[in-house]
């Protein structure tokens, strides 16, 4: 922003600069030059003073020289001709006995950025590479890179490149690092500086001489190196081990990055490196600099994607301190959600509860939605807090809570009872559109259990004329229709009014179209309407029971130690505003490349061909000999929703746990089996899911890998070719691991845990399989079991 009267000030300066009295007094001269620079940095255009400043650089006063060079480098491109005058002074300075003057001249010469000056610069640069003083060599090396960028198309002088390579052995570490930087730029077309074995080992040996900036550059360049043998690899790793726990975050991060790229094929080593880096990363999270804290938090989120349990016991380090800015608090809460486990859930929820009334609305909302996320695994405790917050009767909190509850119910339908009783009275508090929409959705879905639902809707319907939001009207239509299906008597009249308004008076085509659709749908009969409107009540692609599946490190390693993780919410990008969950939640992905029914005969072949797995299967399959198995196909349709699954499972489970194991139930079969395998296939849940889908078994929920007890719930339909009778099979796989592990009482699905030996004598693991078949058909169950066994064996042999 130029001063008022900037022109006048410039004229004044010019007069002073050309005043011979001032020129003869070094101190006054320097002060005038200082004023010029001050004006320049304040944004005044002082380019007119160029010729006067060129004269001012012929001085013995180093401070003045430096100041003039700052000026010249800034305006040289506007005055290429006058700049030629400077070059002579600069070239003379390059021969000055004082190394500081030499380096200053060389640096300024290359900073002028004038292609026309290249020919004058080359000679001093060449001399600079061999200068006695390291500070001159540092400047000269980078000077070649600057020169190269001035003439992008020009040919690269091989002798210079060779000289730069040889300067990698310069005694000054900064010269060495600058050589790497310069070569990297000059040889960009050829893929950068060559990183071969001798260079790598040379760089590694001199690593400790560099300061932290040099070290992180060297470590970054070394990522391109591929060791030739495993021995060499481990030598390098052990050399770098101390850098991995460096107190300087740049070194720690660069070393970890290098470790991960060197060990991409050694997951165990990568894992160990991540664990080793835990301490320094946590320290960076407590750093005095907020920005450093933030960077560390964002990178911790990356690490947690692969090792969810990495920091579980350190959850307190992620409690927000009260003066922290909102952007750090938000990240900390995201991390806290990831760290929840049975031991710390109470503490974490307690802490989050304190943030819900934060004066910063963003923080409060983030805390509420964090509680909702935790609710997916610990619904009772979370819902207690969320419903408690509704008691505050504050619009913003209530809105955030209702939205969170909607998202939670969509994933955990078992909460619906608690939720429906909490919804009463919310409508009086809610002010914003998103909160109201969420409430409407909930009333539509669970209206039969909320006694006041019709009256709430009626208030909204009466106010529909003044409603401006399109989304609200759409949501209102759908909710009223849904409520009409379960409470027709109370709702009929208001539905009529709403449809009438929307069709006759509403100006928006979307709303009108929707209303017409519903109107015609009602003409088709109530059953038809019900089929259309009462579809999914919960997320059909329900995946993980607790936490998220662990991703392979390769998924995020390329963005580690880059700006990427700081830019976006890398984990859980939940948009602030969204419509009904069924529109956005991941749609059930149809496996188009798989046939709906898969004959398991082929699989049988595979399995009988495989080694000892077959024998084991026969043992567990008991009575049946493989040959006698009927031809059975498995199929995924009709789909069983998670709540349906849960209902059937709990019903049976209650029956069986109450009495003696009763197989004699008329039309059901409840059985427990054990599958032995060499390694528990708690590989990545995606793999398991995909493998099961391949044979048409649907996994409906599973715990994350490496958690104990590890569980999978699954179902399938069997179809016998000979009798064309079909059965539904629900199943649970359970691996308890150590005997002292107990199933936590607050899981949604409680299953009695039989204590088992972890491993049998020959190192085999036992997985308990509990199956429920409806109607009973022992032979198809056996066939199913054999398929399941094969899948598990295949997976476990891959693991081992």
């Amino acid at each position: 922003m130029p001063y008022l009267g900037g022109k006048e000030a410039v004229r004044e300066l010019r007069r002073a600069l050309s005043n011979p009295n001032i020129q003869s007094d070094p101190l006054r001269y320097r002060n005038v030059v200082l004023k010029v620079i001050r004006a320049m940095s304040q944004g005044v255009d002082v380019s007119e003073l160029f010729s006067e400043m060129v004269k001012a650089c012929a001085t013995v006063d180093v401070v003045q020289k430096k100041l003039v060079y700052v000026f010249l480098c800034c305006y040289a491109h506007l005055n290429p001709e006058l700049s030629l005058l400077v070059v002579n002074t600069l070239r003379k300075d390059c021969l000055d006995p004082n190394p500081m003057v030499r380096s200053l001249a060389l640096r300024s010469m290359t900073n002028l950025r004038l292609p026309s000056l290249v020919e004058y610069v080359e000679q001093p640069l060449t001399a600079g590479l061999r200068d006695r003083a390291a500070c001159v060599r540092r400047v000269a090396v980078l000077g070649w890179a600057k020169l190269h960028s001035l003439q992008p198309g020009s040919e690269i002088d091989a002798s210079v490149v060779n000289e730069l390579y040889s300067l990698l052995r310069d005694p000054d570490p900064v010269v060495m690092v600058n050589c790497l930087r310069a070569l990297e730029e000059i040889l960009k077309e050829e893929g950068g500086v060559v990183i071969n074995k001798p260079i790598t080992h040379h760089l590694l040996n001199r690593l400790k001489e560099c300061d932290i900036w040099g070290q992180s550059e060297v470590l970054r360049v070394l990522q391109r190196y591929r060791p030739q043998s495993e021995d060499e690899l481990f030598d390098i790793l052990s050399l770098l081990d101390s850098s991995l726990v460096s107190p300087h975050p740049p070194i720690m991060a660069a070393t970890l990055s290098l470790f991960l790229s060197l060990c991409s094929s050694l997951p165990a080593v990568s894992q160990a490196a991540l664990e080793r880096v835990r301490g320094p990363l946590l320290a960076a999270c407590g750093s005095g600099s907020r920005e450093m804290r933030f960077a560390a938090l964002c990178h911790i989120q990356l690490l947690l994607r692969s090792i969810p349990g990495l920091l579980g016991e350190h959850y307190k380090r992620f409690f927000c301190s009260y003066a922290e800015p909102a952007f750090i608090k938000r990240r900390k809460m995201q991390v806290l959600v990831e760290l929840v486990n049975d031991e710390n859930v109470v503490m974490i929820l307690d802490e989050l509860k304190g943030y819900c009334t934060d004066v910063n609305d963003d923080t409060a909302q983030a805390a509420i939605s964090a509680i909702g996320r935790i609710g997916r695994s610990y619904s009772d405790k979370s819902l207690e807090i969320l419903t408690g917050l509704l008691g505050l009767k504050q619009d913003q909190i209530t809105s955030a809570v209702v939205q969170t509850i909607r998202d939670l119910v969509w994933v955990c339908p078992q909460c619906s009872d608690t939720v429906s009783s909490a919804l009463e009275g919310c409508e009086e508090v809610l002010q914003d559109c998103q909160g109201k929409q969420a409430l409407l959705w909930l009333l539509g879905m669970y209206g039969e259990r909320v006694s006041s639902a019709p009256y709430t809707l009626e208030v909204y319907i009466d106010g529909v004329r003044s409603e401006t939001s399109l989304e609200m009207k759409m949501e209102l239509l759908t909710s009223t229709m849904r409520l009409f299906l379960c409470r027709p008597a109370e709702t009929q009249d208001m539905l009529g009014r709403l449809l009438h308004y929307c069709i006759e008076e509403e100006g928006d085509m979307c709303v009108r179209g929707q209303a017409l659709l519903y109107y015609r749908l009602l003409h088709c009969g109530i059953e038809e309407t019900r089929n259309v409107l009462q579809g999914q009540r919960s997320d059909p692609s329900m995946g993980v029971l607790i936490g998220r599946p662990a991703e392979p490190i390769s998924q995020w390693v390329s963005s580690f130690n880059t700006l990427e993780p700081l830019k976006y919410c890398s984990v859980e990008t939940e948009p602030a505003s969204r419509g009904s969950p069924e529109h956005l939640a991941s749609v059930l992905k149809p496996n188009t490349d798989l046939p709906d029914n898969l004959d398991c005969g082929q699989l049988q072949m595979v399995h009988s061909g495989s080694d000892s797995a077959g024998d084991r299967l026969n043992c567990s399959a008991g009575l049946m000999s493989p040959g006698a198995e009927p031809c059975v196909t498995l199929s995924l349709s009709p789909a069983v929703s998670p709540e349906e699954f849960e209902r059937l499972w709990m019903q049976r489970h209650a029956l069986h746990s109450g009495q003696e194991p009763a197989d004699e139930d008329d039309n059901c079969l409840w059985t427990e089996e054990t599958i032995r395998c060499t390694a528990v296939p708690h590989c990545s849940p995606q793999n398991l899911h995909a493998a099961m889908q391949l044979v048409n078994i649907q996994t409906i929920a599973f715990s994350p890998s490496h958690s104990l007890p590890w569980k999978v719930f699954l179902y399938t339909h069997t179809l016998r070719a000979d009798t064309s009778s079909s059965t539904l099979i629900l199943g649970e796989l359970l691996y308890t691991g150590e005997a002292h592990q107990q199933c936590s009482a607050d899981r949604e699905v409680e299953v009695e845990v039989k204590e088992q030996m972890d491993a049998t004598a020959d190192g085999e693991k036992e997985i308990k399989v509990t199956l429920l078949q409806q109607p009973r058909d022992v032979s198809t169950l056996r066939a199913f079991l054999s398929v399941l066994t094969t899948v598990i064996h295949t997976l476990s042999s891959e693991m081992a």
């Binding site: 401070v63 430096k66 900036w213 907020r290 307190k316 304190g354 700081l566």
Partner: protein, 443 residues
């Protein structure tokens, strides 16, 4: 390779203080682009990383200023942030303090620094030992150094100078001004700890972490070796072995590269040759553990009186040793939304309390709070339509304070020796202070 394309310093109001283009990859108009992005966002701080076309802005805030680096490459955020922090520390060392005024007055010096620190966007050095050979400009001190400028935080000397107190501003002078002060050489050692504590509503200590560091600020013209002795009975690590008596425990600690640790394991002595200016010699942490009782306890009673006002009776107890005291204590008590006014009864006139509507909190300030004493206060807050549920909004109380002459871990500097002995009178100062990073008491 990490390369910085441009570097600029902006005041909080967006004035251009310093602008330097290293690579000519983007014009100077990006400064305004940055500031527009900053002002367009609400919230207490814009994102650390922002992008404009293919240019990335990374910034830190230090001394109320924006320190911004732009880069076209995807560089290491850790390195850029650490560098910007280091740069601001260098500027503080050279200018004596860090403020808009100091930067404005010393712009020539800062340009000189920027020229030496970075070349073509690559970091050359940030060591003040190296830089002192190149930097020629003298700093202009924005605040004249005066012995009478005493502040409430005293600086106590090492054991040889028990009676002498130096003003806190003594440590805020430019490092190079020592030249004209007739070679007056001084060294300051600060042991600074930050405490973060959460106390549950039942008085149980839920979280107690201490992060500490030893900072050395050196104004000695010639480099000499410093030997610093820490508590002899200092244990590092998480081992379960616990001696009796007043052992000092640290869970993790790390040292500056230049520190020689030969005598550390046997005698707990650190040896180093400090560079001019400030450096962090040692960083340490103590997690989930406090050697003594937490310094403050709160006993709140919160109710609604017959007139529908919110009544908060707060009893705050300071559990420090009787001779110590906390200064600048401030308790922030969140109050329900819609609070209108406050009337208070405080136990002494030097305290004060006010309702800050913007933060929705009552802030109770106590300038000095001696150990072993207890203060109480009664706050009546007018909240129209106060319901009993609103009482739940009286959230966790946040305390901020400073404990001079105290370390939470008990870490102390036993002695500080310079060798070879300085020709002139070398003054050595050691000061201890514990800050509250976050001290939260749930109610």
């Amino acid at each position: 390779m990490m390369r910085i394309s441009q570097l600029f310093i902006l005041s909080s109001k967006g004035d251009h203080l310093i602008y330097k283009d290293y690579r000519g990859e983007a014009g100077s108009d990006v400064v305004n682009v940055f500031y527009e992005k900053v002002t367009a966002l609400t919230g207490d701080q814009p994102p650390v990383v922002m992008s404009h076309r293919d240019l990335h802005f990374v910034h830190v805030r230090q001394g109320g200023l924006y320190w911004v680096a732009t880069t076209t490459e995807d560089s290491s955020p850790f390195a850029i942030i650490e560098f910007l922090n280091r740069l601001s520390a260098l500027v503080r060392d050279y200018c004596g303090s860090l403020s808009e005024k100091a930067v404005q007055m010393n712009f020539a010096l800062i340009y000189e620094l920027l020229d030496e620190v970075l070349d073509y966007g690559y970091i050359q050095t940030t060591s003040s030992d190296v830089l002192k050979n190149f930097i020629q400009t003298e700093a202009v001190s924005s605040r004249p150094f005066s012995l009478f400028d005493l502040s409430n935080v005293g600086l106590f000397g090492a054991e040889t100078q028990q009676s002498k107190v130096a003003p806190s501003s003594a440590a805020t002078r430019p490092i190079q001004s020592s030249r004209d002060q007739g070679g007056k050489s001084e060294i300051f050692v600060d042991v600074i700890e930050r405490m973060s504590v959460v106390i549950g509503s039942n008085g149980v200590l839920l979280k107690a972490d201490v992060e500490g560091e030893i900072r050395v600020k050196c104004y000695m013209p010639s480099c000499s070796e410093v030997r610093m002795g820490l508590n002899e009975e200092l244990s590092v690590g998480r081992s379960q072995l616990r001696g009796y008596g007043a052992a000092v425990r640290l869970h993790e600690c790390s040292f500056h590269q230049a520190v020689q640790l030969d005598d550390f394991h046997s005698h707990r002595i650190l040896r180093l040759c400090p560079s001019q200016g400030e450096q962090t010699v040692m960083q340490y942490q103590l997690s989930d553990d406090l050697p003594s009782a937490p310094p403050f306890r709160l006993f709140p009673t919160i109710e609604r009186d017959s007139a529908g006002r919110l009544l908060m009776y707060m009893k705050l107890r300071c559990d420090l040793p009787p001779k110590s005291a906390a200064v600048s204590v401030s308790a922030s008590i969140p109050v329900p939304r819609g609070s209108v006014s406050l009337s208070q009864e405080l136990s002494s006139p030097d305290q004060n309390a006010e309702l800050i509507l913007q933060n929705r909190a009552v802030v109770w300030r106590i300038p000095r709070f001696s150990g072993g004493t207890q203060l109480s206060a009664l706050f009546k807050v007018e909240v129209p339509g106060l319901s009993s549920a609103s009482l739940l909004e009286v959230g966790p109380v946040g305390l901020s304070f400073e404990l001079p002459k105290l370390t939470a871990t008990g870490l102390q500097v036993r002695f500080l020796r310079l060798s070879p002995v300085q020709p002139g009178p070398a003054q050595r100062w050691v000061r201890y202070v514990t800050h509250s990073d976050s001290y939260i008491i749930r109610v």
